[in-house]
């Protein structure tokens, strides 16, 4: 009836600076080599010996020393995730938490560790490069890369596997995973067209980032395929932020007062646009329908809630890891690209005038 603690049985677990392979070998009466085999699941160990060793491992609370292992295997079993984002999206959008979550989950499934690197200063960047180049990680995931960053090239040159989240602006010969921004934008604009809108404006993001130019291309695609004229006055540029969305909207209203729909390159821009529209006395969606991009939490809290394009961010994280793991494990050096499809999430900001007027209150 007394509690049978594993501890009382003369089995004081060696806490503190852990037991070594050697200690376990002694305890189990075998050689280090055998213990190593058991720990690493080699099939070449007889069942009895295996059980012996496993008991000894438990008894001593043995956990392998990664440093020692990595010294000989030349593997660190960890991958670096580099996020170089000054501010921007980082704080206004749960993009990074979601991405990290996706990455982390897939990494965990493969028993890899995630080393997060967020360089901020110049010296940081230098140390970062040294760190990564020195093979202390088995591979690197690069997120939100600056156009001319030499990092991926340097890493690749040293034979360190690299994958990039988001299509890099310049043509680096590295694998990447990207959201199909162009197609997402196309779908958003098609949606507006299908609602009967004809004077559709876009508030585009920075064109030096793929995500910015892709969304603009998608907008143009959809207009073209719908036979709508391409009108420069309906295109304004900004920075993905609330304020820049607002000011872009002001410019559009001024240049093209007959605008009846807006496709914004981010939810934040869309929110800024809506506030400007309201101030200008335009009703959303009756007078002007609005669609954003990202499907951030913001989209649900605006008034009216914002139609937006959802990106599979977690999935992107998972794919990044899969690509990288292939490169590491199977030494696949082929450059591969993954394009993830988006999903339009319709909300009240883009309901057709007819619907919002008649249907909403049960016509």
């Amino acid at each position: 009836m007394h509690r049978e603690s594993a501890l009382t049985n003369g089995a004081t677990p060696r806490v503190g600076r852990g037991a070594t392979l050697d200690a376990v070998a002694h305890e189990a009466g075998v050689s280090r080599a055998t213990v190593s085999r058991v720990v690493n699941g080699s099939p070449k160990v007889s069942p009895e010996v295996r059980r012996q060793v496993e008991r000894a491992v438990d008894r001593l609370g043995y956990v392998p020393n990664l440093a020692a292992r990595s010294l000989v295997t030349r593997r660190s079993d960890s991958v670096g995730v580099v996020i170089t984002e000054p501010t921007g999206r980082l704080f206004n959008d749960p993009f990074f938490p979601r991405l990290l979550r996706g990455i982390s989950a897939e990494l965990a499934a493969r028993k890899l560790q995630l080393v997060l690197l967020m360089p901020e200063t110049e010296p940081d960047e230098e140390r970062l490069e040294r760190y990564l180049l020195s093979g202390h990680v088995d591979g690197v995931i690069l997120v939100s890369l600056h156009g001319d960053d030499p990092l991926p090239g340097d890493l690749l040159a040293r034979g360190i596997p690299v994958v990039i989240g988001g299509r890099p602006a310049t043509g680096i010969a590295a694998s990447y995973v990207d959201v199909d921004n162009r197609d997402g934008a196309r779908a958003a604009v098609r949606h507006l067209v299908s609602l009967g809108r004809r004077r559709i404006a876009t508030l585009a993001g920075p064109l030096d980032m793929a995500v910015g130019s892709d969304r603009l291309e998608g907008y143009r695609d959809a207009l073209a395929e719908s036979g709508l004229p391409h009108d420069r006055r309906l295109e304004a540029h900004g920075e993905f932020t609330y304020e820049s969305g607002a000011s872009a909207m002001r410019r559009v209203i001024h240049a093209a007062p007959d605008v009846d729909a807006v496709f914004a390159a981010s939810d934040l821009m869309a929110a800024g646009a809506m506030s400007v529209l309201r101030a200008a006395g335009r009703r959303v969606p009756e007078d002007v329908a609005v669609v954003g991009f990202d499907d951030s939490p913001l989209a649900v809290t605006t008034d009216p809630p914002l139609t937006s394009v959802r990106q599979p961010v977690e999935e992107m994280g998972g794919d990044l890891v899969r690509l990288l793991a292939d490169a590491i494990d199977r030494e696949i050096r082929t450059v591969r690209h993954v394009l993830l499809s988006t999903e339009l999430v319709p909300r009240a900001s883009s309901v057709a005038p007819a619907q919002s007027r008649d249907n909403a209150h049960g016509g």
Copy 2:
């Protein structure tokens, strides 16, 4: 002669599987020990030799192998950051990006690496604990801890330094850094009182989290010190989310129709509340003033913009690292607590009726 040919052929850096200490030693014509001293900045090296070695290091592109170093120093120079957050704040608030940024910056300044761990499943948690217990990190930062998590206790028992972000619900003998939520709430409610509001409601967060109960306490403090009666009908509970803020607001309006101000425990709840108020025909801030908490980006995009309480999240990250580093470097095992003060950011959602009516349009 032969021996040198590979090396002296000048500038060819040994790319690929890096140069070793030994290689550098050869190149510079000194012993490994000397190279090690140079690399680690020991003062006991003559200037000429130092220069020699530094040149060799450059030439070979030498970077120390962390695994080998860590094997002998028993230091990994990395700290684990454990985030156990199912969903909640994680995706609706840039809390984690900001925190990670704060942590990362301070870590970088101390040349420590950040190993991010986000366990999601049960097996994840087990592996996590093994990983941390086995001394592969020098210390651990725990964020958004569940009330009854055994992890901090286990780690502490093994002598691994632990610091916690956010005051843990149960009384764990670990250092923590927290935002002074109670004081922040107090300030928010005082602000409402100073605006002449008398029927101030609160939409509280979950009480099983310190952050939830602290903010409620602060609310009560402020009412008490202002001599306002404590009225249960003015207290509704929710979950920090938009929807729960909305439904809590509905309950308050029903139970206390004369409510003239609301202090919500999060911006998200405040946003939910505002939409309900609007639907109920109450104007914000004229009829009901609203204050949120967190000063999330959301606060700027609501209509009207939301008065909120700003938390020094980056600073919190920095303090976490400082506390942890003290524990690691100086072996300080004293339990310490840091409480960071908040700042009220007034916006249009809480302007006094007099001001918003008379002043705004120039009385």
